[in-house]
């Protein structure tokens, strides 16, 4: 019974997350590259499935009676330009990104340093590949106690991007 209740609870949390994510239309909008809102991802998340890139929820704005005319130039949170973030520790290498701001929005994020940027990766490719079982990955709905995944990479990414964007802040 406890398992059943906790699964219902989990499904509820997950559905709520998916709905909020979809309604914000985040996935396809490059201006909403997850700019960390401060807290390190997944650090204190009550959900057992950590979300490494928390999506900032916009604070609801009261609807004005008259429609304001948007300023014609330099709209958005950031000043145009290219900003380099600090090199952040991803625990097996350094992640360093550069944020490119165009029209006040993040137009691109370029990796300057990346943990897998290693020169000697080719020499092991002589291993003969045995025939191993393969499958297409599929989302599982079963409840779990712990999640295994590479979060350190995303934290380091967030840290570097955040520092690049803090230099780009308007006003």
């Amino acid at each position: 019974m406890k398992k059943f209740l906790s699964s219902i609870f989990l499904i509820g949390i997950f559905s709520a997350y998916v709905i909020s994510r979809q309604s914000l239309g985040l996935a396809a909008n490059p201006s909403l590259v997850p700019v960390a809102t401060g807290a390190l991802p997944a650090a204190a998340s009550p959900s057992p499935i950590p979300v490494p890139f928390p999506v900032p929820t916009p604070t609801p704005q009261p609807v004005p009676r008259t429609v304001p005319v948007p300023p014609p130039v330099q709209q958005g949170r950031y000043k145009n330009g290219t900003y380099t973030g600090v090199g952040a520790d991803a625990y097996y290498g350094i992640v360093q990104v550069q944020a490119v701001i165009i029209g006040g929005k993040i137009a691109d994020v370029v990796f300057l340093s990346y943990p897998n940027d290693r020169g000697n990766s080719a020499k092991i490719s002589s291993y003969a590949m045995p025939i191993l079982k393969q499958e297409a990955i599929a989302t599982q709905s079963a409840p779990v106690d712990i999640v295994s995944g590479a979060t350190e990479m995303s934290s380091a990414f967030n840290q570097s991007l955040q520092s690049a964007l803090s230099q780009a802040q308007n006003g």
């Binding site: 398992k3 997850p34 998340s45 499935i49 979300v51 625990y91 191993l132 079982k133 295994s148 590479a150």
Partner: protein, 252 residues
């Protein structure tokens, strides 16, 4: 009793199920991680590793812990055909790729030595577990999707073993890397290793991820280890014994 704290640049979660646990027991575990961070962080100028890198400490004067870690790094480099290398291009030593798994295992040993039987320690997605969960069942570990971080793509029951995942979540984020055309980076997005303990699983996950697609063949030959590798197209390749971890153990 369960707690998560950010330490060593990642969230660290400790859960002890046994009824006799007190907050002081968890505190001791976090104290240990704090000490490890203070000793091994290459970002703290006062850490022993930083002093060593500046040439202020001779190798023979290093603490036993640091000497042990450097010895283990050297051994791991040999075992992985040079893929595990703590020496970066500037000649600076950074053992953090090994320290994480080593510290989780030591923390788990601390908990076991304090008399607890049912617990897990998780740091940055790498886990050492022991005994049963709070429902008296096997610890259920989900492997996170490298494409959608809120989803899991596999559930495993590593029963007292260690599990570690190396990977990158870049593609799923619509972030463009100048290295994206480089096959070494894009062909593998996630590699999960189950090993005798989290230290073993973590060091091999780190080294084998760097090997690219052929890494799973290296793992297949390694006794006592199983792995689940996900490539950029969403196809998983698993070692021949991996399936044994996807079913509930018989005593359930």
């Amino acid at each position: 009793m369960k707690q998560t704290r950010p330490l060593m640049g990642m969230p660290i979660t400790v859960e002890i199920v046994d009824a006799s646990v007190t907050p002081a027991d968890l505190e001791k575990v976090y104290q240990y991680f704090t000490t490890v961070d203070r000793t091994f962080s290459t970002y703290k100028p006062e850490s022993e590793i930083s002093c060593f890198n500046r040439g202020e400490v001779a190798e023979r004067d290093l603490s036993p812990e640091v000497q042990e870690v450097l010895r283990l790094c050297e051994a791991t480099k040999r075992l992985t055909g040079g893929f595990f290398d703590i020496c970066n291009r500037k000649g600076i030593i950074d053992p953090s790729g090994l320290v994480k798994g080593w510290a989780i295992r030591n923390a788990a040993t601390l908990i076991a030595d304090a008399g607890f039987r049912n617990f897990y320690v998780e740091a940055g997605g790498d886990i050492q577990m022991s005994g049963k969960n709070s429902d008296g069942g096997s610890w259920r570990v989900g492997i996170r999707s490298p494409f959608r971080k809120e989803e899991i793509v596999k559930v495993v029951y590593p029963e007292g073993k260690g599990i570690a995942t190396s990977g990158t979540y870049i593609r799923g984020q619509h972030i463009y890397s100048p290295f994206a055309k480089d096959r070494e980076i894009t062909e593998i997005v996630s590699l999960t290793v189950i090993g005798p303990d989290v230290y073993e699983a973590d060091r091999y996950a780190t080294a084998i991820f760097a090997m690219g697609k052929t890494g799973i063949a290296f793992l297949e030959k390694l006794k006592g280890f199983e792995g689940y590798m996900i490539d950029a197209t969403g196809i998983a390749t698993m070692t021949s014994g991996f399936d044994s971890y996807t079913c509930l153990p018989h005593d359930e």
